[in-house]
């Protein structure tokens, strides 16, 4: 299976940006973050001591509808928790995250929006890192589908997702804490537990029996957290190339 492809800071006008492509599901997301930014007075009165996180999902070939509003709500609650909104310069300001679906099939009205959620989460996270928004942690997310025969499939395509009995999206923080759990369909708690374990191993890499995460070169790149880390590392490496050359 091909891993995802991502790159940081492609756009000129936005404070931070990232593109993320998941070959398994075919979705390609472009994320942009503007932060900290002045918001009109009507919105910042809610929590004046914190930054307001705003998420906007722009579908590729339709106008935004109920599905987008729903997924925006999920994204806002996850990302709002990890943004350090009380850092200097952030209270009363906004963190505006714009995610455009630039490739892949459309999520039809009434179809599950969970299929695209991990890609949106990753694009938003990378864009925030690119914009240097202070974060309390990083995370990685994955989509798993359970088929009729009870097999757990990683990143099912939109058609496979439709046929699946249940769909699950999990996000784990860099410290292995469960950040987000969205499930759809019929499933039992035992199945959920199996899916959770599988998701944890996808996000964090192979966990050895003593509970340590193996940090070898080979296994880190296979895990999603390792992928996020490497993408950012590559960007930092090229950003600071001038410093490396002078050493």
């Amino acid at each position: 299976m091909f891993g995802p492809i991502a790159s940081l800071s492609q756009l000129n006008r936005a404070d931070g940006s990232a593109s993320y492509k998941c070959p398994a599901t075919g979705y390609s997301i472009l994320g942009a973050v503007n932060a900290p930014i002045e918001l009109p007075a009507r919105r910042d009165a809610l929590k004046p001591e914190e930054a307001t996180v705003e998420v906007f999902v722009k579908p590729g070939t339709t106008t935004a509808g109920v599905g987008e509003r729903y997924v925006e709500g999920i994204l806002r609650s996850v990302l709002g928790k990890i943004v350090l909104g009380r850092e200097k310069g952030f209270p009363r300001r906004g963190v505006v995250i714009t995610l455009a679906i630039v490739g892949g099939e459309n999520v039809e009205r009434g179809d599950s929006y969970l299929t695209i959620l991990p890609a949106l989460l990753h694009a938003a996270l990378l864009a925030m890192i690119s914009a240097s928004v202070p974060l309390s942690m990083t995370f990685s997310a994955t989509l798993l589908g359970v088929t009729k025969s009870g097999d757990i499939v990683r990143d099912p395509s939109p058609t496979a997702a439709k046929a699946a009995v249940s769909l699950h999206v999990f996000a784990f923080s860099s410290k292995n804490h469960l950040l987000l759990n969205e499930s759809e369909g019929r499933f039992e708690f035992d199945t959920w537990e199996l899916v959770r374990e599988r998701a944890l191993s996808i996000c964090q890499g192979v966990i050895s029996s003593d509970g340590d995460v193996t940090m070898d070169e080979g296994t880190t790149s296979a895990s999603l957290n390792g992928f996020i880390r490497e993408t950012v590392e590559d960007q930092v490496y090229s950003d600071y190339a001038y410093k490396l050359d002078s050493i």
Binding site: N12, F56, T98
Partner: protein, 297 residues
């Protein structure tokens, strides 16, 4: 925040003074476009266009709908342009602004109202079903001149797009999948493009394809919509200082030259892309191997 950062007085003076000496900020001639870069995505009708630092993605899509009551023979065609905070921090998500309304109107007038896409060919069954073609414009980086860039990208997308084949059999509409039948290109009647000029110093200096800074320093603009045959289908002097009548006549000729140039460039990229696709398609068809799909059920 809902306003673009203004030019400083020094910057404005610099731009105007330089133009008096026939120099532009990036060293272009008054009638030069910025470097234009067009590429296509995996799907049909997915265009990525870069005009200098202005960056646009256009996606064309089609679906079967019911035609309008008063026009039972016509299909539908819509251009959808929504500015988001991605293009510029000054644009607020989910709120319309002047640029959006103006650009949408211009694109509508040039491409839709000039009938560049023959909507009658989109009819499948009179009064019952027709194709609805939709062009979605995503502005992901804004550095001036979005109308020209969006116009080029939409026209390239319409020429690149292939809709699924549909036939009527015994009064029933059958839409064939892309694998079943070769998808059909859209019927393009002519290829109009917009060329935007900006005037400076009492319309003594008129330049084409202004960057954002040049736009901010300009006193007026002039949009000419013209096709390769030289038919002017749109001319707008929307706001700002009055322009010299002779300048408009002269610039129409410049616009014609530009449109011919750009259309030729688009054609070249389009042919290269279609040739590449044909090659892959042939290779796929002549393969003896069976697809090895992982059984999911």
């Amino acid at each position: 925040m809902s306003k673009e950062a203004q030019l400083s007085i020094a910057e404005r003076d610099f731009i105007l003074e330089a133009l008096r000496e026939n120099v532009r900020l990036d060293g272009r001639q008054p009638d030069d476009y910025r470097p234009l870069n067009i590429s296509f995505g995996e799907e049909y009708g997915h265009v990525k266009l870069q005009l200098g630092k202005t960056n646009i993605i256009v996606r064309i899509s089609a679906e079967v709908t019911k035609p309008r009551e008063d026009r039972p023979f016509d299909g539908l065609f819509n251009i959808n342009l929504e500015l988001s905070a991605m293009g510029s921090p000054a644009w607020e998500n989910g709120r319309t602004n002047d640029i959006e309304a103006y650009a949408t109107n211009t694109l509508d007038r040039i491409i839709r109202h000039s009938n560049a896409l023959d909507t009658e060919s989109l009819c499948i069954l009179k009064g019952v079903s027709c194709w609805s073609i939709r062009a979605d414009v995503h502005i992901i980086d804004y550095d001036g001149n979005i109308t020209d860039a969006a116009c080029i990208a939409i026209m390239a997308g319409l020429q690149h797009f292939r809709r699924p084949d549909a036939v009527v059999r015994d009064g029933r509409v059958i839409v064939y999948g892309v694998e079943q039948r070769v998808p059909v290109p859209l019927n393009i009647t002519h290829k109009p493009l917009s060329v935007t000029f900006h005037t400076f110093n009492d319309s003594k200096h008129v330049i084409v394809d202004a960057t954002l800074k040049e736009e901010q320093a300009a006193e007026g603009d002039l949009v000419i919509g013209i096709n390769s045959a030289g038919d002017v289908c749109y001319l707008s002097k929307y706001a700002g200082a009055p322009a010299d009548a002779m300048a408009i006549v002269n610039k129409t000729n410049v616009a014609w030259e530009k449109v011919k140039e750009i259309n030729a460039a688009v054609d070249k990229v389009l042919q290269a892309d279609l040739a590449k696709r044909a090659k892959i398609g042939m290779a796929d068809e002549s393969r003896a191997e069976n697809d090895r799909l992982v059984q999911i059920e």
